[in-house]
């Protein structure tokens, strides 16, 4: 006979077993660190996955050693679609509590949210603007400090993208504060530079205020009837909303911008929105990785920035990139995750930290 008094609650001590079901929007086609990612978004997702399967990193932050030496090793891999990882029993830090992690790629934000609500997923990225809806749907929400930079990246070789006046005009026309307040529902911060104030201490030197009159003057100096085609990730509702807002802001300054959904890096556009995630809270390391990530997209040289570079050097480097207007910082966005009720011991990763899957356990695992 079993007498139950009330509902059983989970024990406090970690529990081994179970599969963590993860859904992400990004499509990752290669998890080989030596293969360049097609987009910054893919690079960021790949960074998360590689942090699970590689034990060591080089001094520059890139992964070292052999895949499978990390907390997890690869069990099944279907590029671009599905990755199954299993706990590595030999891991020096101890075996992960979950038996496996199943990552489904290319899931839309809507599908991810629905799957969290119906308990088909344990962990999924949630667009920051959907935080309220997720919470109303009973989803557990975890949010990091704003450590993802959403920026416009101009495509090298395109006529309008090669015009410095056009790039600067677009940058000055954008009302970043309005994007934060209305689209992000204040879940972020305007960005003028490539590093946040808490990291570099110099972000205040990069203005974020809209300057429509200068934008208008700059745009007027361009000959012909230029138009900027702005691409955004079709699977990312935040990028779509921001792109549409930029179109409105630009129009107010007399700038002709068209927003178009893009797939991958080869679409026909003059500029595109890109998410750049800080891989380190340290300004030199973060800036170096930003520069490396945007170099293939902008044609800017990714001059190495030495570890431990002095603040002046970091600022000069950042200023040089921003002043080119080939990368136009827009907003800092937090990473927002939805969690199922059975996820235990979750702590939101700090800037530069990867998904902490090795330390979590599942409340109903056996």
């Amino acid at each position: 006979m079993l007498v139950s008094i009330g509902r059983a609650e989970p024990a406090r001590r970690p529990r081994y077993g179970g599969t963590l079901r993860v859904e992400i929007g990004t499509v990752v086609n290669s998890i080989d660190p030596s293969v360049a990612a097609a987009t910054p978004e893919e690079a960021a997702a790949k960074e998360e996955i590689c942090a699970l399967i590689y034990e060591r990193r080089n001094a520059d932050g890139t992964f070292a050693g052999v895949a499978g030496t990390g907390a997890f090793r690869i069990a099944e891999w279907e590029p671009g679609k599905h990755l199954m990882l299993e706990a590595n029993p030999e891991h020096g830090g101890g075996r992960a509590f979950v038996d496996s992690v199943e990552i489904q790629m290319g899931k839309t934000a809507h599908d991810r949210l629905v799957d969290l609500e119906v308990d088909k997923a344990d962990f999924a990225e949630i667009p920051p603007q959907d935080v309220r809806r997720a919470m109303e749907g009973g989803v557990r929400v975890s949010q990091s400090q704003p450590d993802q930079l959403l920026a416009i990246v101009f495509t090298p070789g395109r006529a309008v993208a090669e015009d410095a006046h056009a790039r600067e005009a677009l940058s000055r026309s954008i009302d970043r504060a309005a994007i934060v307040n209305f689209i992000l529902q204040k879940e972020g911060e305007p960005a003028g530079g490539l590093l946040p104030q808490w990291s570099s201490g110099t972000a205040f030197l990069f203005p974020t205020a809209v300057d429509a009159s200068t934008a208008k003057n700059l745009w007027a100096q361009i000959g012909g009837s230029p138009r900027i085609v702005l691409g955004y990730d079709a699977s990312d509702p935040l990028e779509q909303s921001v792109a549409e807002r930029i179109v409105v802001n630009a129009r107010d300054a007399g700038i002709d911008v068209t927003a178009t959904a893009s797939q991958g890096a080869t679409a026909d556009y003059d500029a595109r929105l890109a998410r750049l995630r800080m891989v380190s809270p340290r300004p030199a390391a973060a800036l170096a990785r930003f520069a490396a990530a945007i170099s293939p997209l902008t044609g800017l040289s990714a001059d190495p920035l030495a570890e431990g570079a002095p603040p002046q050097q970091i600022y000069d480097h950042e200023r040089a990139i921003v002043s080119s207007y080939r990368v136009v910082p827009l907003i800092w966005v937090p990473r927002v995750y939805g969690l199922s009720a059975r996820v235990r011991n979750w702590t939101a990763p700090a800037s530069g930290e990867a998904w902490p899957f090795e330390g979590i356990w599942l409340g109903d695992a056996q």
Partner: protein
């Protein structure tokens, strides 16, 4: 009340008058006995003295005298930034005290004399596996001999004349828990459920993080009763007179029976539910037939309880908490006191 009484007397044909002219003297006393309130009337005067005692019906149970309440007390005895799996303190003589601190990969030994540290030894202990939830236990034979159990290893240590340690890997390791051994499930963080008693009898329970049975000082409880903090998240009270298993809710993973204070009931100290991101608490429960009743106030602690072992005196427990605010591991002695 006096007015109500005189009104009632008037209805019955009587009246209240001054002392000298009264036919009878009536003194009413409101009193309380074990079973309730009483109205006591003492009548004297022309007739024979009479005393009438009337019980008063009451709507509520009369509260008894407040009894003694157990209260949990924690004394922090050691703090450090490195993880502590278990600890022990032993007095070599009146002026020398030794502290043993078991960490995931080593044992630290400190000797104090008159409050001053005079020795610090550190010995690496082997491990057969790495764990994200390492557990360990120190069993002190005397002040200079200890045995440690952790990560599939058993290490015997002694002062002879310096501190020496010998470790060996033992598959299916049995951890001594008083009169019974628990089989540790390497490379996990729990016990298999097999308990081996001193008479070599073996009992099988579901796999558990910790377990508790009545102490010898407990009255009216079978020693075959157990509370099992299972790895499925359920705490079960098993055995006893009824053929029933009761699921106890709100209990954490770590429990320990303490010798009863404030009575002779089976008393169990238990951590709370949750995970390692939240502060924890200790609650004392009294176990009756099929019930666990929380007694006294719970004791809040500033982080998860990582270790809770009954001390050899049977009256206290050794506890390790990771303070979430400071990140420091706090080793504490937990006792229960009786207070009014």
């Amino acid at each position: 009340m006096r007015r109500a009484l005189t009104d009632q007397l008037a209805i019955l044909g009587g009246r209240e008058v001054e002392d000298a002219s009264a036919d009878s003297h009536l003194r009413i006393t409101i009193s309380q006995g074990l079973e309730g309130y009483l109205l006591v009337a003492e009548v004297s005067g022309s007739a024979a003295p009479q005393t009438i005692v009337v019980p008063v019906a009451h709507g509520e149970e009369i509260a008894g005298q407040p009894g003694p309440t157990p209260s949990i007390q924690r004394k922090i005895v050691w703090q450090q930034s490195r993880p502590i799996l278990d600890f022990a303190q032993a007095d070599i003589d009146a002026s020398h005290t030794v502290w043993y601190l078991l960490e995931p990969e080593r044992i630290e030994v400190y000797e104090f004399s008159g409050g001053a540290q005079i020795l610090h030894e550190s010995r690496t202990v082997g491990r057969s596996f790495a764990s994200r939830d390492p557990r360990g236990r120190i069993v002190a034979t005397d002040a200079t001999h200890i045995t440690t159990f952790l990560a599939g290893m058993q290490c015997d240590s002694a002062w002879n004349p310096t501190f020496a340690i010998q470790c060996k890997e033992i598959p299916g390791q049995q951890w001594p828990m008083g009169a019974v051994n628990w089989r540790f499930e390497s490379p996990r963080n729990y016990f298999s459920g097999n308990m081996v008693f001193s008479n070599s009898l073996e009992t099988k329970f579901p796999a558990f993080y910790s377990a508790a049975s009545p102490s010898s000082e407990t009255s009216g409880q079978s020693k075959s009763r157990w509370i099992i903090s299972g790895i499925d998240g359920q705490t079960q009270l098993v055995g006893g007179t009824a053929d029933a298993t009761t699921i106890l809710t709100g209990w954490g993973s770590d429990i320990a029976t303490l010798a009863p204070v404030c009575g002779s009931q089976w008393q169990v100290l238990a951590t709370g539910a949750g995970d390692w991101t939240q502060p924890d608490h200790l609650q004392l429960y009294e176990i009756t037939d099929q019930r666990a009743v929380a007694v006294g106030q719970s004791l809040e602690v500033p982080g998860p309880v990582l270790t809770l072992w009954l001390a050899s005196d049977g009256k206290s427990a050794r506890m390790v908490v990771r303070n979430l605010e400071t990140g420091v591991y706090e080793a504490s002695i937990v006792t229960v006191a009786c207070s009014n």
